[in-house]
């Protein structure tokens, strides 16, 4: 038979069986669209994770003290190992007032334990730090507040670190610029090294300096979003006056947009002031600072964390600090994203199977109905290969149509999914996968029954009703 005539028959059959074509296609469309979306959502998640951590220093270790964590059963990371098993660690943790009573004791126990078993990583002991009278002050505070002294301790005693900074955030009312009324903003007290640690770059001006910090000057640096909101743009913001907590600050610079969070501060949305300035004029001593340590050796963050814990334990025995490193944050985030992707793939696989079975059923039934047609064609002398080619082309057409429509549908749903705040990232690979799915299921399930029917002797095919 001429190929052109076979094509004519294919077209004729497709037009004649519109309903069946639509029915079969719907299964393929849904299957293909689901596959595109699943892959897009998986990729979207990965890209979001990557985006969040793009500007994060992988060696960054954040240390903070939160009262809330005090009563939790904490993991071993929190450094109680050095005091493990002694009478100061009963099942019920002491509240902060009890703790003050036991602090001295546990401190001694801790130190002697270190001395005996040599677990102190770099040989400082009582002799190294015993004379430091600040220890006692810090220990006897009602509330543990990490301070610049702790920064110095870490800088001095923890090896393999490139820099240490301390920062805190607070919410304060701000006025000035184009603001019509006082508005609450996040104000971050940071040291001059913060910009470098957090990969922050400035659009205009310069970041806070050591001198400003030492002199407690009333200067500030604005995040990109803040500058836009208060002054319209970065250039107008520069060198303007901003009223923070009622006091006038000079805007010394505006950051470039960065989109990431560092030391718990979302840089775009924050106003940065020198650490000491903030303490003096805005917060007082009522702050919960975060110390950020940049480790030099990314492969041995564990050791660095342990060393930090040991150093902090000198000053704050029994206290449990929350220590997180950027690397494990990234790992955790991408691990949970991987889990999501795996789940989505499992879902896609189920759709694949269920959709495939649906498609198979429709095609199988429709070809069963057409067995008689195949019988007639055979009886009047149609070659098997012509019959097979005709059915194969029909199946291909339905599959490709279904696959293409499925991809279109997924393009249509994408904005809706995005509106629901789900990160989606469409990809050519995803669309190709969907097309391959459509083609494979459509052709397999469309062609196999036709092949079976064409193998029948015409008498048997004809007797099929």
């Amino acid at each position: 038979m001429k190929k052109r005539e076979i094509l004519r028959l294919v077209a004729l059959n497709l037009l004649q069986n519109k309903f069946k074509v639509v029915l079969t296609s719907v299964g393929i469309i849904i299957g293909a669209a689901t596959i595109v979306m699943v892959i897009a959502i998986g990729r979207g998640g990965q890209e979001k994770v990557a985006e969040q951590f793009k500007n994060l220093n992988a060696g960054a270790i954040d240390i903070s003290y939160e009262e809330a964590t005090e009563n939790k059963t904490e993991d071993a990371k929190m450094g109680n190992g050095n005091f493990g098993g002694n009478q100061n660690m009963p099942g019920g943790k002491p509240d902060s007032s009890q703790k003050n009573g036991t602090d001295n004791k546990s401190n001694q126990n801790g130190k002697s334990a270190m001395g005996e078993n040599g677990s102190a990583p770099f040989g400082f002991g009582e002799s190294a730090r015993g004379g430091n009278s600040n220890d006692k002050n810090r220990m006897n505070q009602d509330k543990i507040v990490l301070s610049e002294e702790d920064v110095e301790d870490i800088e001095t005693f923890v090896p393999d670190i490139s820099s240490v900074s301390i920062s805190y955030t607070t919410k304060t009312t701000v006025d000035g610029g184009e603001l019509e009324e006082e508005t609450s903003y996040t104000v971050a007290g940071v040291t001059s090294i913060y910009a470098e640690i957090s990969n922050l770059n400035l659009q205009v001006g310069e970041f806070l300096t050591k001198e400003e910090e030492e002199n407690k000057e009333k200067v500030c640096i604005l995040g990109a979003t803040v500058a836009k909101e208060i002054f319209g743009d970065a250039v107008s913001a520069y060198d303007s006056t901003l009223y923070i907590g009622g006091r006038a600050y000079t805007v010394n610079g505006v950051l470039k947009e960065i989109g990431s969070v560092s030391s718990g501060i979302s840089a775009d949305d924050a106003i940065f002031v020198p650490y000491s300035t903030g303490v003096k004029y805005i917060t007082g001593e009522n702050i919960s600072p975060t110390i950020t340590v940049i480790a030099e050796n990314l492969n041995d963050l564990e050791t660095t964390i342990e060393n930090i814990e040991t150093v902090l334990a000198e000053s704050y025995p029994n206290a449990e600090f929350t220590i997180t490193d950027a690397g494990s944050k990234m790992e955790a985030a991408s691990a949970s994203n991987d889990t999501l992707t795996t789940l989505l793939f499992a879902m896609a696989f189920i759709v694949f199977i269920v959709g495939g079975i649906g498609i198979m059923n429709v095609l199988f039934v429709s070809i069963k109905e057409r067995t008689k047609e195949i019988g007639i064609l055979k009886a009047i002398g149609c070659m098997k290969q012509d019959i097979l080619l005709e059915f194969l082309l029909e199946a291909c057409f339905i599959s490709v149509l279904g696959g293409a429509l499925g991809v279109l549908v997924s393009l249509g749903i994408t904005p809706i999914v995005k509106m629901a705040n789900i990160p989606v990232s469409l990809s050519i690979a995803g669309m190709l996968t969907a097309m391959v799915f459509a083609f494979v299921t459509g052709v397999t399930f469309g062609f196999y029954p036709a092949w079976k029917a064409s193998c029948l002797v015409p008498v048997d095919a004809l007797s099929e009703e």
């Binding site: 001429k2 052109r4 005539e5 004519r8 009886a379 009047i380 002398g381 098997k384």
Partner: protein, 228 residues
């Protein structure tokens, strides 16, 4: 050109049903010459359709010899059967067996398309037959839009267009009322007069009488009747 269209020699056919074997056709001998109009008459279950399927190369037989227009059928493979059916035989079935999704014209030209002819050429070649059967007005209709008699005329047209050596009809009037049946039989006589070779299978003696020769099949055995 062979003058003997069908030559069956001691054809036997059994169906295996579990352990028992049903002997349906028993030593069938039959010879049909070019231009003959033969009716094979027999009661239900006598093996008419089985015989027709063998003559029409749609089924295989167990033993015996079959020459169709000089071709030794027992030596052919399944694939060649298809070509033989297309070239040598025009089928007319009791239930018409038209393809319901095709138009009348598409149904009629199918045997020619299968030979590799283009649609336009095939349509042209079919026009005489279509006119003879009075189907010109119906070409774009679907089979379901036609009466039984008209559908059978379409089936006859389809059987004729390939100019086969043999027209093979199984109960061609079986689904028709008396007057449409009579019309089909009249048409067969016309075709016979035009020189076509026709083998018609029926259980109805009245129908068989319109043929020039009647062969009776009873319980799988063939008995020659009086010549008409």
């Amino acid at each position: 050109m062979e003058n003997t269209i069908i030559k069956l020699e001691k054809i036997n056919k059994s169906y295996q049903k579990g352990k028992t074997s049903l002997h349906i056709l028993k030593d069938i001998d039959l010879q049909v010459e070019r231009g003959e109009f033969v009716a094979i008459l027999g009661p239900s279950g006598s093996g008419k359709s089985t015989l027709m399927n063998i003559i029409g190369c749609m089924d295989v037989f167990d033993t015996g010899k079959y020459y169709l227009n000089g071709i030794d059928i027992s030596k052919q493979k399944d694939k060649e059967f298809t070509g033989i059916r297309n070239k040598e035989i025009g089928f007319i079935f009791q239930k018409y067996h038209l393809i319901s999704t095709y138009t009348v014209l598409q149904n009629i030209v199918m045997p020619l398309l299968m030979r590799g002819m283009g649609f336009a050429e095939a349509t042209e070649q079919c026009m005489d037959t279509i006119k003879m059967l009075g189907l010109e007005e119906r070409l774009e209709h679907k089979p379901a839009e036609l009466s039984g008699g008209q559908q059978q005329r379409v089936a006859i047209a389809r059987a004729l267009v390939g100019e086969p050596a043999l027209l093979l009809a199984d109960e061609p009037t079986g689904a028709l009322d008396t007057s449409s049946g009579a019309e089909v039989l009249k048409l067969f006589n016309r075709l016979h007069n035009m020189g076509h070779t026709i083998v018609m299978i029926t259980h109805d003696l009245e129908v068989a009488k319109s043929a020039k020769r009647i062969v009776r099949i009873i319980d799988g055995e063939l008995h020659e009747d009086e010549k008409g």
